[in-house]
Symmetry: C2
Subunit: 269 residues, 2 copies
């Protein structure tokens, strides 16, 4: 039977299947996938795929080209995604922040949100400098601690949670060349200096400065970061970028404070 990696007879079979299929469609988003292709890639049964895809199409999570019969990711996902970043009412404030940061720094600016034990890149701006460091695309996920924004987020979690994450999620961090000891040191460093610094640890030649946005309880919920080639990231520049970030974060917290639906509300009053 098909299943190379076990048919995932888990509890939420249906959602699991949905996710598997959408992931498959995402991989070949350009030209779409035929039913058989989906069967091959997912390892699910032909009938199951057929039925599932029919359902997904009926509800707009997938689309089928009438001409070719190829399946694509459904455009209903767009509306949800656009709203998924409105979390904590942050999205309306950060766009101008990103623009300013990109203009001032001339490098690449990232905005990430905490999602489970991962940091998700939610928005991005490119600065004017001709060598672009485009490490993350929108929607890309990284385990907490990997990357400057992600590291800032990890360091801004409650003490015991930091420990849990460092201890439990070793496998997810496997492919990155940072062992637990190094990570623990990095977190401490970040907490002391107030911003996260990465320089070549993840991608040789790339450096980045990240800073977390915290809710009223002080827990990190989002992060801003600026990435550039290592040469540009001199000691003085790190500090000045950290200042820029600090400034923008203060501004966000101030603006968000005016809105009662925001968990940031009580932070800087």
């Amino acid at each position: 039977m098909t299943g190379s990696d076990a048919t995932e007879k888990g509890e939420h079979q249906n959602i699991a299947r949905t996710r598997t299929i959408l992931d498959a469609l995402a991989e070949s988003a350009g030209q779409g996938l035929r039913l058989t292709d989906v069967v091959r890639r997912t390892g699910l049964g032909k009938t199951s795929c057929h039925r599932a895809l029919a359902g997904l199409v009926a509800h707009g999570l997938a689309d089928q080209d009438e001409e070719s019969g190829h399946f694509f990711l459904g455009l209903r996902l767009l509306g949800w995604a656009a709203r998924s970043t409105r979390r904590y009412g942050l999205s309306r404030f950060i766009a101008p922040c990103l623009d300013r940061l990109a203009q001032m720094s001339e490098d690449t600016v990232y905005f990430s949100l905490l999602s489970g034990n991962e940091a998700v890149c939610v928005d991005r701006r490119e600065g004017a400098y001709p060598i672009k460091t485009l490490t993350l695309g929108i929607g890309d996920r990284r385990p907490l601690g990997i990357g400057s924004g992600s590291l800032a987020l990890l360091a801004a979690q409650p003490k015991e949670r930091v420990e849990t994450i460092i201890r439990t999620h070793t496998t997810e961090r496997q492919r990155y060349a940072i062992d637990d000891v190094a990570l623990r040191r990095k977190v401490k460093e970040t907490q002391e200096v107030g911003y996260a610094l990465i320089d070549g640890e993840i991608i040789p030649g790339m450096a980045a400065v990240g800073m977390a946005l915290r809710d009223a309880q002080g827990r990190g919920i989002a992060a801003l970061s600026v990435a550039a080639i290592s040469q540009r990231m001199t000691t003085e520049r790190r500090a000045s970028i950290a200042d820029l970030l600090q400034e923008e974060i203060a501004r966000i917290e101030c603006e968000a404070g005016a809105h009662l639906d925001s968990p940031l509300a009580t932070l800087r009053t």
Copy 2:
């Protein structure tokens, strides 16, 4: 009392439920929803919601704030959404087109994709002109024929499909003040002139010009449109904007023609 509006015992109950819940979460994306709120808004049973949300969270379609317990739309949707617009490999070409159009026209530029019998706004650019006509947000859907891009798409469908759509989807168009006769006339007009023109039909004071992108078989699959206040949309300007659109569409078809995975490939060779 589960079913206020019928529990939708349809075939794809599970996906339907997923969609219902995600839609509910989307409505209050800013502050999130508690379990009970989801129950109230969806009309589903408490246990069902609980289980379903657990599954959604486990797979990243929803996120739960650890602090408050509030549920949000999952950030995994972001990655899918970003890829959903790569359909036909178009997305890499249109971004610069939109930028150019926004700069030249100084008005709002929309890019829409065909999805079933609807047009979905997939990208948008604002021009410099201070009065912005922001009718559509990213992810918003309109029945075919409603709006300039949507009308251009409808007019670019095979003859019999146009008829089917005009005849069958009357209810979806109900809330817009365009009856079947008017729509049929508009379609004919569009096919003759080569571009779709809207002027006050949908939103008083707003005018827009739209043009469809066609695949190798000549079927419309996407549309570009420019919207402005009616005063700005004089007869001459309509023509010049249509020219701009025509130019960009020619460019896209030319560039896409170089890529074999595009159904546009054979169009302008």
